[in-house]
Structure formats: C-alpha cells, structure tokens
Symmetry: C2
C-alpha cells in the first residue's frame, strides 16, 4: 500500500494521540494539524515530537459558542511561548480560520482525521460541507459517538459522492473498534438477536486527557442532555463527578453503534445496547470492555460470541489505533473510487 | 450492494453448508455446484433444497489419487437414484470434467467458492491455473488451512492480476474467522508479541459432516504428516481416533494463520501459535475457541485482547459464515478493480 498523508483537525486528547501514533507507522505521514489558534503544515511531514512538546499542557474543554468553528477537543494550549496551542510550535502559524487553512492545502492530503468532539450536532457536518464546497476528494474520518449525526451525514451522501469523498464516521473505540468487533463476531449467525456493548474507562486509561469526551458522556446521564452538558462550566462538571463519587455509570446511551450496526446489516438498531462505567478517580478500569453478540446459527443453535479488550489498554489506544486502521481502509476505498458515507462495521467483511 | 452469483466447487460438508447458507442471504445466488460426479448449473439460481435433498448422505473422503482433480471434501453421494452426488439431482448432469464445466459457465459467475480439502498441496493452485488459463476475471475463494499453499498462490500473483482475479485464501474458520478476529483485536497495539489461537470442536459441532477435514487434522499429529494421512484408509483413521480415546489434541499446527497474519502486517509468523482439541465422541466442544492477541499499546501498556466463539456455534457456522462474508468483500474488491492474492486479515482494517 502506498503512503498516506493525513491532516489532523483538533489537537485535544484524540488529535494528539493520533499524531503520536503516526510516528509508529512509516506509511502514515501527518502533514497538517490545527486547533482553534493555529495551523502547522509541512507536506514533507510534520515534526510531531516538536509539535507535541510545544503544545503540551492540555486545558479542558471550554464553553463553546455553538457557531464557533473551533477545532479543539480538550484544547491543547501552551501557556508560555509566543502563541497558544499549535501556534506555539515553531512549525505553527496563528490563524483565525484553521479549517479553511487546512482545506487550502488539502489537494496534497489523502485523509483528514476530524478529532473534534461534537457537542453541537451539526459541527462535523458543517465542517464536512466546507470540504465539499472546496472540492476535496480524499477521505474524511471522525470519531463521533452520536447516532443522530449519522443521519446528517447521510443527507450529504450525494454531495460527498459527487466530490469524491469517502467519509468514515464513528471510527474511534465505540463506535468503531467495538462495532467492528460486533460485525466480525456476528459472522457465526444468520440472525443476530442482540449486541451488548459495555465499556470500562479508568483514570489511567484516559480520563485526564479526555475531559472533552467526559463532557459528552455526561450528556448521557439521565439528568442531563447535550444542551445542558454544553453549558456546564468545568466546575459544574467536577461537581457532577463528585456527586457520583467519581464513578459515572451509563446505560442505554445514544451511541452511534446502533445505527452503524444497522447500516452494516448486522442487526436492527433496537437490538443494540451500549453502556459503560467511567471511574475518574481510580486507575483501574471499573469493568472490562466487552462486546457480546448473541444470535442463532444457520443450524439453529443460539450462542454468544465475545470480543474483549484487555484492561491495560487505554482509551487512547483503543480510539486511535482503530481510527488509523479505518483511515487506511478508507484511503484504499477512496483510491478505488468508492465514495460516500460509511460506518466502521461496513468496512468489515459482512456475512 | 449488487447481487452476487456464486459457484460452489465440492459438495462435501463445507460446500453443502455454503449452499444452505445462501438461502439465508437474498443477495447471494448459487448458480453452479459440482462434485467429482456431476455438475448443476442454473444462472437464474439453483434449487438448493432439491440439490441438497438429492445429494443427502455424506460419504467420508476416499483415498485420493494425487492427480485426480476431484472436487469432494467428504464426498456427498446419493446411493439411490440414477446418478451419484450432484448427478443425482434433477438439476445435475453427469460429467467427468466438473471443474472445466464450471469454467465454461464462469463468465456469468461472480465468485467461485473452492470448498475442496487440500490433501495434495497443489490441488487448489492447479484448479486456480485452470481458471486463469480460461481468462476468468471474478473472485476465487478457498478455505484452505496449510501455510505452504499460500506461497504457491503467491507465485501465481502476476497471472491472477493479469486475468483480473481476486483470490481470497484461507477464508474459513481458522484461518479466516479467527485471523480476522486477531487482526481486529491487534488494533489496540503498536507491537503485537503473540497471537494464540486455540479451537475446540465437538461431535455436534461438526465432526460428522467433516471427515475430510479430520483427515487433514490428523496430518498435524506428531506421528503423522500429509502424505501418511492421505494414504490412510477410513479404518486407519478410525483407529487413530480410538488410540486417542476420541480426543485429538493439536499443538503448533502448520496452519496458514501464521503466514496470513504476517502478510497483513499484524505480527511475524513466528509469533502465531495454533492448536486445538477435537472430540469426536462428545457433542460438547472440549475447549472454547479463543483468540488471544497480546501486545503493547503506544503508551507502553502490555495487554491481551480476546475474541471468543460461543460453544454452541458449530464448525460449519464458523467456517461458512465468514467464508461468505469474505466472499462478499472479495467481490466488492474485484468490482473495484483490486486483483491478486489476499488473506482474510488483509480484508480487515489494518492499523
């Protein structure tokens, strides 16, 4: 497979880890990165170590203005130095239009990883529109979680196809890694009756670097929704955590796993349940991340296949490895002329 | 996705189950099937129920002549009726050249499932040559197990590409399903140190219908090799089973999982171990089929991810579901102009 050049939008926890992971993969060259403050571009390949060092010191997510096309997900801000965030890197320049600036360079970029949280439902769809309007013809990939965003991307299917874009959505840990596991595990069965996804995240496993994600998670708690979670201050977020003694348990989350598995023909979205436990005070995962697929074989037996992640694997490892794996598949599809919107499970062999 | 037409070579356990499974999938239409005795072709779609009924009554594998291009894998023979095997079906005709006869129809066939055991190493490669010589330009897929056959197919890579053939090899349960699970599970890790595949098969789970496969398995026992296993009579096979009290345990098998995972860039072939336990006297699986992938994450943690099949899933379900899943992916690749030899793990997103 040929080399792949990638731009990373957002240098929060996910974006930073994607950049770091790229140093482990010779075939993957990050050529652009941006946050709300700046952009760094080098078509020969960014100096990732310098960029990460210069932008070290994560600040938790700010209150967002809904119409602000920010690119942070837990913003990486360097307090010292001449600029903030990416602009603090010697490779970076200050900008007020980071996404437009990436788009201006996109003819040489094979794939764009949108490492953006999506507190505003339409944020990723709107960024997508910007790429379409500019005639981009590569891969867009996001790690979104919310079911309803998929529909908004589907509405753009025709325009994406016309532009020559292959969009892989929800390609992080869940959905993404775990829906992939479910799709594969489903191959024993002619009829899948349930997919049960339950994740565990501990402090060491990723909370500290992923406060933006935690805000999204809080929106899943019974008493909250996206709007209230978005408006909360960091202090209010901390107070919610205190109220739960640091252990947040989620059931029946609105997680895109359901619609993505239905799209892939694995089962009805109603048959998918997603929940998890987040422990923000202990290193150990409070529960082992597990996918259970229960179904009936062609010869009439009912059974459950299981896909389970080792407790020592961090959230970052389980988000970013699969994201880059799906990105690679997306680029292969794009180079073969396959365009449109795809969920991760659709990229797996589908029985 | 558009519909797929398939030919099934061999109507032993695997071939019969593939035909049966096709009735669960609207998009998959079997249009040809053959065994050493006959061929049935209907480009509108075979009547699978009639064909299976007419050929019911499996006979275990015969001693093969190495140069005999037989198409049986545990041959399905009907003892009553005018013909044997496929020729006994009202859709079937007697033939002495079943593979040539399928090739003659292959312009309208999207994919060919080679449900053939491979006691002679070069049998599947030789059948492949026949398809290449005839200018076939669709998908060939097999469920072979032996590492060395992959090399023989690789030698044919250029000719396959020139012909426009997409060859997916080793697409059954193991390799195939389990290497797919390993490839997916590996995505947490930047360095995979080991892939440990251990399968369990009980009587109910598939032995009865898969005696040809058992013969191949016996070749993996310490005291045997391919040549001696091939020459054994059914009675001698039974004697081996008796000697082991019906429970055959295999370690360090020469299973294509190793080379297929290396091809996909998951790990070195030396890091893959394959073993299993076959109980030919009890219904229950003697051990739960499990894939363990141990590696190191980018952030330095060592962990093991696990993919496990429910004990009630039969060998047939775990061979044929994935085989058809990989077939579907192979056809998609073929239609996109992607030709050559691919292992199942290469069809998964590869981080």
């Amino acid at each position: 497979m040929d080399d792949i050049t990638v731009a990373v939008l957002g240098t929060g926890g996910i974006g930073r880890r994607a950049l770091e992971l790229s140093t482990h993969k010779e075939w993957l060259t990050p050529v652009a990165a941006c946050d709300r403050h700046g952009i760094a571009v080098d078509h020969e390949g960014l100096d990732v170590t310098e960029l990460l060092d210069a932008t070290e010191g994560n600040i938790a997510s700010r209150n967002e203005q809904p119409d602000d096309p920010a690119t942070d997900g837990g913003i990486a801000i360097k307090r010292s130095g001449e600029g903030e965030g990416v602009a603090a890197s010697i490779q970076g320049d200050h900008t007020t239009t980071p996404i437009d600036d990436v788009i201006a360079e996109s003819e040489l970029i094979d794939a764009v990883l949108m490492a953006l949280p999506n507190l505003e439902h339409d944020f990723i769809p709107r960024v997508t529109d910007q790429f379409v309007d500019a005639g981009y013809d590569g891969v867009l990939i996001d790690v979104l979680k919310r079911s309803r965003v998929i529909g908004m991307l589907d509405e753009r299917e025709d325009r994406l196809v016309d532009s020559g874009i292959t969009f892989v959505c929800g390609a992080g840990a869940t959905p993404g890694f775990l829906t992939g596991g479910a799709a594969l595990a489903a191959q024993s069965f002619v009829d899948v009756e349930s997919v049960d996804i339950r994740w565990g995240v501990g402090l060491k496993s990723g909370y500290e670097d992923n406060r933006g994600t935690v805000r999204e998670d809080i929106a899943h708690l019974d008493e909250y929704d996206i709007e209230t979670a978005r408006e909360m201050t960091d202090e209010e977020i901390e107070a919610v955590i205190d109220d739960h003694d640091g252990m947040l348990e989620f059931t029946d989350m609105e997680h895109a796993d359901d619609v993505l598995l239905e799209r892939a023909g694995i089962c009805d979205s109603d048959d998918v349940s997603v929940g998890g436990v987040l422990d923000v005070r202990n290193d150990a995962k409070p529960t082992t991340t597990t996918v259970k697929v229960t179904g009936t074989t062609f010869d009439g037996e009912r059974a459950t296949n299981t896909f389970q992640l080792g407790d020592a694997t961090s959230m970052e490892a389980n988000v970013n490895g699969p994201a880059i794996g799906y990105l690679k598949t997306g680029v292969r599809m794009n180079r073969n002329g396959v365009y449109g919107v795809f969920g991760p499970a659709e990229l797996l062999p589908g029985f």
